[in-house]
Symmetry: C2
Subunit: 242 residues, 2 copies
């Protein structure tokens, strides 16, 4: 478990230069956690590593924190991308939380033919990602993209980033085999909705040079389990768990 309080902030972290926190964070530090001047907090911003800081000033709506010592440098390998068809609300929160713990660098909600949910709230998903990053001792927070159509995602996908599509219709390559020798941070994954991809979508994938269809074994995984499992395999065989 993380020792003490760990916060993600936007500002730069450098020794002796105080940083302001948001009003919500000030409330959390002062009212919920009852910190006062001089108390210790751990900070990260995704660029400058992890810092031990002290509360320099705090009132109801604002607080300044003074970075004192860098505890860890910003040395994280970038994680894979995860594009996913949102599932019912708790499923989407679950995907964002677990994917953050598993080191994903970008989260992209995608509307596919069989996607049952409406638009996702990017702000809400981003807040879930920040909270998970604070708790799991990551040094970064994944970028959360606005929900987009599958066509838009495929159209803008970088040719040099291999996209592994989790396909329950079978015939794909076992994921650990597909990833062997690769680098997790140079890959992306796409998981479908509860009803799977449509035949037209599967046809389209077959024509895209950057796509590899992969399989996750003989049982039918729920959509959120498949998303999580793909990231686990990526980190275990081609990422920072090695």
């Amino acid at each position: 478990m993380a020792a003490g309080i760990r916060l993600y902030i936007e500002g730069d972290l450098t020794a002796g230069a105080p940083v302001a926190v948001s009003a919500d964070q000030a409330h959390y530090l002062g009212r919920v956690m009852r910190l006062g001047v001089g108390d210790a907090v751990t900070l990260f911003n995704g660029r400058d590593g992890e810092w031990r800081a002290a509360v320099a000033r705090i009132d109801k709506r604002a607080a300044d924190l003074m970075p004192e010592t860098q505890m860890r440098p910003q040395a994280e390998a970038p994680g894979p991308w995860l594009a996913f068809a949102p599932v019912k609300k708790t499923g989407t929160d679950f995907i964002v939380q677990k994917a953050t713990e598993l080191g994903v660098s970008r989260l992209i909600p995608v509307a596919t033919a069989n996607t049952q949910t409406g638009r996702t709230k990017t702000d809400r998903l981003a807040a879930t990602a920040v909270e998970a990053a604070e708790q799991c001792e990551r040094l970064s927070v994944p970028e959360v993209s606005d929900m987009q159509t599958l066509d838009a995602l495929m159209g803008a996908w970088p040719d040099d980033r291999r996209l592994f599509i989790l396909d329950e219709t079978g015939g794909g390559v076992p994921l650990a085999q597909a990833l062997a020798g690769g680098i997790a941070g140079a890959t992306g994954f796409l998981t479908g909705p509860e009803g799977g991809f449509s035949a037209r979508e599967l046809d389209r994938f077959a024509k895209l040079s950057f796509v590899t269809r992969v399989t996750l074994g003989p049982r039918i995984l729920r959509a959120e389990t498949a998303a999580l499992a793909a990231l686990v395999v990526a980190q275990a065989v081609a990422g920072d768990w090695k």
Copy 2:
């Protein structure tokens, strides 16, 4: 997604020999799903493979199903065991559901020094496992053991089953490396509570010849994420996802 209704039953499955279902299952088939005589159901019992059956008789409290054709033989490789310190209620349900999807053969709730929850209800966990097995197209249901102490678990652990302990204090072997060349079904995993294992527990593990301490990367995974991730790696590198 599973097509149609898929039920786990206790009775033997053989062509032409009708099997009775439980009162709850009869209610589900007749009242919830509104099946009548002649309608099709898929059955499995963990021993005789998967069968297509037809409703032979149905009323409010009972139903007989007639197995007609075996669709799949009972050919599953046995899965690993998972011993886990229960986390708050939804976390435990989550572990049982996902572990079943991931092919675990035995689930063992364990009371450790830092375990915060009280006794688990074995019946409730077993029902969650049955439901997950029905949905994920498994041919078996994992055995759910009564909650036991860590001492009892260690005392009764078979010497020839390697136990991988997920240890967040660091220093363990990366899990994919520890599992390489192994057979998932001959292994077991133990995941700790939210507060981790105690120093005394870690000392004890070091003295046990069947234990290997393993690590799951640089981030701190929640207890339920660690349990799931261990099973994913096992199936991907040493199990039936290969």
